[in-house]
Symmetry: C2
Subunit: 153 residues, 2 copies
DNA sequence: ATTACTGCAAAGGCTTTGCACGGGT
DNA sequence: ACCCGTGCAAAGCCTTTGCAGTAAT
């Protein structure tokens, strides 16, 4: 078990009270909060914390690779301290993002054909070095309505 | 070949000059533009078009299922008139989104275990009715640098 | 004739930035 | 002692909204 201090040191990050509080709170979050949500969560337990610092910390941590920014469809970023490759479930409402359990995440990510990715990378002159999978969830209709069934995709 | 008029009629959408121009321009786009980019593209060929109307049109078309909003990581939405399930490549810079060729898209999407999705849906009390896959691309390093190789994922 | 859509400009979220101060190394 | 990180408030970007006029059905 490495401490936040050690982890930050490894990445040449200064251990400020605020930055550590932000990171540790994010690590404990099951759902992936927005900057604002994280601020409201961390603020009460931390003296002298501003929203700007939450943004700055998240930016720094993202740059260091300790935090991942999750793409969203409503212009408001969400953050994840689990940087391992795993899937997310997003609600059509855009209200929340959840993790898919590791088992299924792993199964799907293993199913990705490596050679295909490399081919794309070569074609673009880029390196494909990450994958982001979001399952889109909509409210379950009461009856078996004809459209939008689970097998649509 | 159905015309835009017919398509809109099918979805009970009014055929305004602006809305049709926005939709047809988006259909022709290879890359997936932001609202602003689309506006700059359509404006010269369309009399009386405002940016607000581009936003309104995209919102309406998205609601009708003719257009898809692509999640991004920088708080600025991109749009895609191809609503079939396919993969995207996103650059770390956030500057652009490209399509993955249908062949590989299809191969990957077919690899998704349906039973797993259904299990997740049941668990959430939701219906999983879409999937969004983004491959993340970074500039190819000149040498074979140790970290961030294509096989990281 | 009715109703929805448009343009314009203002307002609204989310995020970044400039600057002076304080804290980490 | 040095320099980065912080707080605050202002500015910035993207998007939505209110309203009066216009166009589609």
């Amino acid at each position: 078990m490495t401490t936040t201090r050690e982890l930050f040191a490894t990445h040449s990050l200064r251990c400020t009270r605020q930055r550590m509080a932000v990171y540790e709170a994010l690590c404990e979050c099951e759902q992936h909060p927005t900057a604002e949500e994280l601020f409201r969560l961390v603020k009460p337990r931390t003296q002298k914390l501003s929203l700007a610092t939450v943004y700055n910390s998240l930016e720094t941590l993202t740059g260091a690779g300790l935090v991942r920014r999750l793409p969203t469809t409503n212009g408001c970023c969400r953050y994840d301290a689990d940087t391992s490759e795993h899937l997310h479930v997003c609600f059509r409402s855009g209200s929340e993002i959840l993790d898919v359990p590791p088992g299924l995440s792993h199964r799907l990510i293993e199913g990705v054909p490596r050679d295909g990715l490399e081919a794309i990378g070569r074609h673009l002159g880029m390196r494909i070095d990450g994958i982001c999978v979001q399952l889109i969830a909509a409210p379950e209709p009461a009856d078996g309505s004809p459209n939008g069934r689970a097998d649509r995709i």
